[in-house]
């Protein structure tokens, strides 16, 4: 079991690295899916099968599908990929290195091991309908707000939202569309 944890962790890290460094957008998103799968495995090895499943279904499933649909809608692949010069990585790398150093230092202050118990969906469900029921309600309202908001920000279906066009014309049309709505 422990070995599974480390393998999955390695896969996750490598996949994430690829996400961040690929020039092709779709490739990057697919690597992200891989990374999410790997993290799901990590969840399983930690004794949290419920969230492992959730990770796969919601995160890798719904959210990444959203990404890919948006990419399809925007027809991004037709554009030239945005190149990032190698030099541009230096500053952020330094910053992240310092951040990691701090986090590692903070996290390794205590090194006790895991209990090794599995916390199954039953317990999670009981907790959700018990102490955290308010949070669940709020989360659902949040999702509703996001739904409505996304619909509005993206614009009416008949004002041509999503089709690539000149910026100025698009703004005018989109604005008019919003005003009508």
């Amino acid at each position: 079991m422990s070995i599974l944890f480390f393998i999955a962790a390695a896969v996750a890290v490598i996949a994430t690295l690829f996400v961040v460094t690929r020039a092709d957008l779709v490739h990057a998103l697919l690597y992200l899916v891989v990374s999410l799968f790997a993290v799901a495995v990590v969840f399983y090895t930690l004794g949290a099968p419920f969230v492992a499943a959730l990770e796969v279904i919601v995160y890798a499933g719904a959210i990444m599908m959203l990404f890919l649909f948006a990419v399809m809608l925007l027809n991004v692949r037709a554009d030239a990929p945005l190149r990032v010069p190698r030099r541009a990585w230096l500053g952020p790398l330094v910053l992240v290195a310092v951040l990691l150093a701090e986090l590692i230092y903070a996290l390794t202050l205590s090194g006790s091991s895991l209990r090794g118990v599995e916390v199954g969906p039953q317990q999670v469900g009981a907790s959700l309908f018990g102490p955290y029921v308010l949070g669940v309600e709020l989360a659902s309202m949040l999702l509703l707000a996001a739904l409505v908001g996304a619909r509005h920000v993206a614009g009416q279906p008949d004002d041509g939202a999503g089709r690539p066009r000149d910026g100025a014309g698009a703004a005018r049309d989109a604005g008019e569309g919003e005003a009508e709505a």
Partner: protein, 630 residues
Amino acid sequence: MLGLLWLIPALPAAGFVALVLGGRRLSRRVAAMVGAGSVGLAALVTLLVAASFIASPPPGDAYRQVLWTWFDVAGLKPQIAFYLDAMSLIFILVITFVGFLIHLYSTEHMEREEGFTRFFIYMDLFVASMLVLVLADNLLLLYVGWEGVGLCSYLLISFWQKDVQNVYAGRKAFIITRVGDTALIVGLFLLFTQLHTLEIQPLMASATANWPVGSGFAVAAAALLLGGAVGKSAQLPLQTWLPDAMAGPSPVSALIHAATMVTAGVYLIARTNVLYELAPDVRLAVAIIGTATLLYAGLSALAQHDIKRVLAYSTISQVGYMFLALGVSGWDAAVFHFMTHAFFKALLFLGAGVIIESLADEHDIFKMGGLRHRLPAVFWTFVIGAAALAALPFVTDGFYSKDLIIATSLGSVDGSIWLYLGALAGAFITALYAFRLVFIVFFGEQQTPVTRLPRRREKLPLYVLGALSVVGGLVWMPGWLGGFHPLESFLDTALPSTELTGSAFAEGAGSALLTIVIVLVGIEIAYLLWLRWRTATARFAARPTPRAIQTFWLHGWGFDWLYERVFVLPAKWFARVARGDLIEPAVGGIAWLHLRGWRALSATQNGLLRTYLTAAGVGVVIVLAFVVLR
């Protein structure tokens, strides 16, 4: 009669006021009458006062007239009071008489000038100030007169103010004499704080009582007063203003820069002679300054080619003789030379003025020549003046006074062989340049045509001054010529007599003979160089070394060049820097700082998302560092 004393300065002052108030509306004739007439009246009153003074001398040989108390503050209580003794009497006689003659001359000479009334306003103010100076009973009133003559000198030098060079000359005169004036006022401060009075007679008595010979205070006070005198009288090292002061009209040069104002320094030292008796070192300095100046100026005069500048350097040189006399305690002799010098130098300047006018404003003597036929009156009077300047033996007053000084420079207990030799050399050089002037201007080929002849009011003063230059010396004949010296006896009532060493050579005919020989030789050489062998001299002067020496002397031995580098340019630089308002940058700096800070901060708002994220990341790192490392 003596009670009329106050009228003497008051009359020119009244003339000044009248012209100031009514000047525009008065015609030229009336303005001239007021301007010159007020001085003439003052001369008349002076005569009356003099007659009364000589006929029945007041007790103590001095008359004091108090008008009112000026102010009374913290122990300083100067009064507007006049003090008349033998010395001031001689001075006021010269000032009013020579002054009147010059005013008379000016009514004709300045006739066509557009500032006619303004001229007489300044001249009357000058005469009034000069009279206040010599009649002042206390040093503060003297200083008032001193400043007054300085002001009028500035106003009159820059009289033709449309030409900015004249204004610069006036400014230069004012600034340089200012240096001396500052020394003088500091001297007055010293005298008052130590001796608690500024009235001259009590001051002298107090100084004798409280200060031993050679004491620091006496030396300091005498030196400071000397500083003032050096400035006003254009002696080394403050002499550079006088040649430039020739930018003023010729009557101004005659009155202010020959006869009267430049002798104010001589008067001051003579008046405070007690201080100089108490400070023998300073007195020696006076003599050395006088000798050095007379030689310096004499040689410079030899190289000039502007007729008025020759006379200007000549004045510096002759005042040097007066200083020499003062330095060897020849107080009376200095006053005598002042008198004779006033006569012949005013004469020379007035003559020069006529010449310049006649030749349509030509100043260069090498463009003159042959004028003795066209301007005979001027020629004869000018020759008399030059002869007096050169001290032509027996027939000119200059001889008697200059010979007296030369003899005293050796014969006085404070005299020395070096001063004597310097004075003799000076006499030789004086004769040389005086007759160089005569021969170049009046003899030879006429280069410039005469376009205007002098008229009566210009010629009359020339005649009178010419006569005075001849007979003026007869009031003090040397011992070996009969010893008729009423002037000396008269002056001895006011000034201490000179202590003589008893040297027979100095007091007798011996030194006089030497002087006579030197003067005659000088005149003869001048005749040879500038009349007989004129072309040879010109050719010699064109050679490199003589030319270099001549240029050096022409520019006053480089004093102007030196002062320009050391004082003027740094002052101008500093003024330019200070004009930038040193405080301003400090205030402006705050604004600049703010602007730069704003720009810097503004630059962080570059609109790029990633920059903001980086900033947030850095912030997180820092905060975590605090948390983790605590």
